[in-house]
Amino acid sequence: MRRALADRLRAWAARRHGRDSLPIKINRRRIYILPTRFGIMLAFLLVAMLVAGLNYNSNLGLAFGFLMASIALVTMHHCNRNLLGLQVDVTAEVDAFAGGEASFEFVLKNDSNVDRRDVEIRCLGADGIRSVAARSSESVPVAVPVPQRGIIRIAQFELRTRYPFGWFHAWTYIQGSLAAYVAPLPRGARTLPSVAGSGSSHRSEARGDEDFAGLRAYEPGVPLKHMAWKVLARGGEAAVRSYTGLAALPEWLEWSALEGENTETRLSQLCLWVLESESAHRIYGLRLPGKEIAPGRGAAHRFACLRALAVFGIAEPPRTAGTP
């Protein structure tokens, strides 16, 4: 009953505010506020104070009762203000593997002169809570459990606070579409295939023989020193320089090498290989039916591979109404 009501409220908020593009600054129109259970108890107490003050004709009792009522009202404003003007952004999640958690990194930026305490982010049943000091920002990791491989989409998440005193509960819904690619669980018994029989790992250890190979689009997680600052400075899109080791021969992680297994097992094995190749600093490519990722290395490359494994065989699913 309560849950159904909450769902309808979310759907209504989604219709009312439409899609939001992140980063978003929370304005007053989208903050909702209601008393909590303790707020309602306090309200009853305030009525009792008023009745007692009037009945005993006591101006001092009334004064104290009115003071408490005013404190409650001011508290309501403070609770609302705790979210007002806060900027919310999400940095793309990092690794997410089926059966684990997708860790969304929310960034709360507070450019006002007041501290924001105990701001809670709820998203697909998971949450994180942080205080953001005045003129600073904090990142809030929210680990959303992901049972299955594929794309997890979050159409809506919620920011809420009960600060101060827990008498009121202010919240806002944000319809920012976040997506995380959930790679298969890295698992498998086979050893990493090697190129031409001989291990090639030692070659790429030496950084000196890396050569500039071209520019790729910026992906979060890339080391800053690989950023193509000059391109950015010329007014272009953020880009990343990619390098290849001259001596390193690419090694191909092949779907076809895993004949006889079922799809998920194959994907799990490939996923494990991707991770192993990356941690061994090899140069590797991925071949899936209908998809080939050219050999490369580095966080962005690894991410591209994992992403290909995540969405393999999955049609781009319709947008699901994610419930925080």
């Binding site: 939001d20 306090l42 004709n57 001092l60 009792g61 003071l67 404190i71 009202l73 003007g85 809670e120």
Partner: protein, 676 residues
């Protein structure tokens, strides 16, 4: 912070276990709130609260949980049973407050989670109100506001997640909150409609001992009273005050004398005989302090008053239906010189000529001797007064103790006494001669507070005098003290007593600055009483009149309250939100921010790393239609911001240009931000 605590945070924050620190903080607040009830509740209730708090704290200190449920229930049942045995009810202020204290104390004993602490904070808030309901003290209000501040700061530390805000910043935050709440409190307090009477009958606790004059008079009673510096009432005269020899404040009238004690008559319910005024009328307001008796002190002789449930008894005492247990204001009109037109009823004549010769044989003899020399009533009275004046009688606060017949002993042996000795002896002498006489107790005189135009009447102004019946003239006031110490009437007891008498507050009369400071303080007290304690329906009507609102009534008051609340809430919203307003102060930056916001609204937001001209270039590429305008504006901005040389355009002009700039929405696709 820890996502595991937050997972079920709908209840999570509240079911978090409390720490020793939190328990200690809330116990301290509870203790401070209890202090306000000291003396009005049975001691064992405090004991029970203290013990249960102590036990819980001791256990928490060793990291142990609350005592088992069975123990808690047993203790609670015992405490409530004991409470019922003591009060026989849970209704009424004392019983209700005691119950609340027990509930909060026992809740402290079983406190495990933060939810329990919420209940205790609510109890603390309500205990504060309960303490104020029958109080009139400014200091108590100030103290409890302080307790509220502390409790609120404690609550803040209870409900916040870690790291907890430190005490100083918690107190500062709670203080700011209180400050912001004050205007709203004031508006509500002034304009919230008051009712004429209580909503329902308040059960009277009725266990408070009275103070001031009582309904009997023993020798020595008034001497004791005169030692007290306490204020009995304050009087404000609408016009000039009557001269001192007419400032007699009438209290209980005593008729029955058993040789030692004067007592009130049991039935004085008949209507008082009408009086014919002889002098001017005085209109005044008596601000009476509670004394737990039914009589009110009015200037002799009252003819009109404003309290609906007060009436005159047959001997002209103004009586209220209920004892005066709270401060009340009596506005009345009195005539200080009257004459009675009806003859004395036989019943009263019998009552007031009663003598008991066995208790004062020598006095009876003296009366007979004098009476035979002065057959005329007026002559006889003068003769008795002359006796007091000529014989070596002394006016003193410390007369020798009298045993046995107090009248004979005083008149013939000790010859030293205070007003009650003279009043008593005079009445007996009158009655012995067949003249109806009665003793009136009350107050005489008072101190004028020149700082606020009112008179202070203290217990030290307590006095006793006589009334005698003269046929054709009615009851006539005779104050035998005037015969022996006329200064008492003119200048108060201080003027009449010798310097070594232990009169209350006497040394202050020597220190003028101290007396002045005291008067100023008293003026403040009176102001507090008039403006705060007695703020009522009438005061609200006067306020409306003062605001020139025609035909003030309750409805207009509510409208005014609504308007005031709207205003104050607007102010509150503004003042609270102002702090989050991150708009730059600089006019140029503000104008630039407006430009960026306008461009962001059409789908080309400025990136954080872009300077003004880079941004303009990108806008030019993305939206060629806006390019030239944006480029010009951004160039102006750069110049205004960075150029050393004077620029062609001023900040104001730039701002106007930005305001006039209206970029059209993008046509290509529907941007995400504009979708709905």
């Amino acid at each position: 912070m820890n996502s595991k605590t937050g997972v079920n945070s709908r209840t999570g924050v509240n079911s978090r276990a409390v720490t020793y620190d939190q328990l200690a903080g809330i116990s301290a607040c509870f203790g401070l709130a209890l202090l306000a009830h000291l003396g009005s509740l049975p001691a064992w209730v405090f004991g029970a609260a203290a013990v249960s708090g102590g036990i819980r704290l001791a256990r928490a200190r060793r990291g142990r949980p609350a005592p088992p449920r069975g123990v808690r229930l047993l203790v609670a049942a015992l405490a409530v049973a004991l409470l019922y045995l003591q009060f026989r009810t849970f209704n009424g202020l004392s019983a209700g407050t005691a119950l609340l204290v027990l509930v909060a104390g026992l809740k402290l004993l079983e406190t495990e989670t933060q939810r329990d602490i919420y209940i205790i904070t609510l109890c603390i808030y309500f205990l504060s109100v309960a303490a104020l309901l029958e109080s009139t003290s400014f200091w108590l209000l100030a103290y409890l506001t302080g307790v509220c501040w502390l409790t609120t700061a404690t609550l803040l530390r209870l409900t916040s997640t870690r790291p907890l805000p430190d005490w100083r910043s918690s107190l500062r935050y709670a203080g700011r909150l209180l400050g912001q709440a004050l205007p709203l409190t004031l508006a509500l307090w002034i304009l919230f409609p008051r009712f004429a009477g209580p909503l329902w009958h308040i059960p009277d606790d009725g266990h408070v001992a009275g103070s001031g004059l009582s309904d009997s008079m023993n020798p020595g009673d008034i001497d004791q009273l005169v030692l007290s510096d306490e204020v009995a009432f304050r009087v404000h005269f609408a016009a000039a005050a009557p001269p001192p020899q007419e400032r007699y404040w009438r209290g209980p009238v005593l008729h029955n004398f058993d040789g030692r004690t004067w007592r009130r008559a049991s039935s004085m319910t008949q209507r008082p005989p009408p009086l014919q005024p002889l002098g001017p009328a005085y209109e005044y307001t008596v601000s009476l302090e509670p004394h737990q008796h039914r009589w009110l002190f009015a200037l002799d002789w009252p003819s009109r008053w404003n309290l609906p449930d007060a009436g005159l008894s047959g001997d002209y005492t103004l009586l209220q239906r209920d004892p005066v247990s709270r401060p009340i204001d009596l506005t009345a009109t009195s005539y200080t010189r009257v004459q009675e037109t009806e003859p004395l009823s036989n019943r009263l004549r019998r009552l007031d000529t009663q003598t008991m010769p066995i208790h004062y044989p020598r006095t009876m003899q003296l009366a007979q001797t004098l009476r035979s020399a002065h057959p005329d009533d007026a002559d006889y009275i003068r003769a008795v007064l002359a006796l007091f004046a000529q014989q070596p009688y002394y006016y003193t606060l410390t007369p020798p103790r009298l045993t046995g017949s107090t009248v004979d002993g005083f008149l013939f042996d000790t010859k030293r006494g205070f007003c009650e000795h003279y009043a008593s002896a005079f009445a007996v002498l009158m009655r012995a001669a067949g003249i109806p006489a009665r003793v009136v107790t009350g107050y005489q005189g008072g101190t004028f507070n020149r700082f606020a135009d009112y008179w202070i009447v203290r217990q030290s102004d307590a006095h006793a005098w006589d009334e005698v019946w003269i046929d054709g003239r009615g009851w006539l006031r005779v104050d035998p003290t005037t015969a022996i110490a006329p200064e008492r009437i003119e200048r108060g007891a201080d003027g009449a007593l010798s310097a070594d008498e232990p009169l209350a507050g006497r040394w202050q009369y020597r220190l003028r600055w101290f007396a002045d400071a005291r008067l100023r303080l008293d003026a403040l007290k009176q102001l507090w009483r008039e403006r705060i304690l007695f703020f009522d329906q009438q005061s609200q009507q006067k306020l409306l009149e003062w605001l020139h609102i025609p035909e003030p009534d309750g409805q207009k008051l509510v409208l005014l309250l609504g308007a005031a609340l709207t205003l104050v809430l607007c102010w509150l919203t503004w003042t609270v939100r102002r702090e989050v307003d991150s708009a730059p102060k600089d006019a140029l930056l503000r104008a630039y921010a407006r430009l960026c916001a306008k461009l962001a609204a059409v789908g080309v937001p400025r990136r954080l790393h872009e300077g003004a001209e880079d941004y303009a270039d990108r806008v030019g590429r993305d939206r060629p239609d806006l390019g030239p305008a944006v480029s010009a504006l951004c160039r102006h901005y750069s110049r205004l911001r960075y150029a050393a040389a004077p620029t062609r355009i001023t900040v104001t002009q730039f701002d106007a240009a930005v305001r006039a700039f209206r970029p059209a929405l993008k046509r290509r696709d529907s941007p995400a931000s504009a979708g709905s």
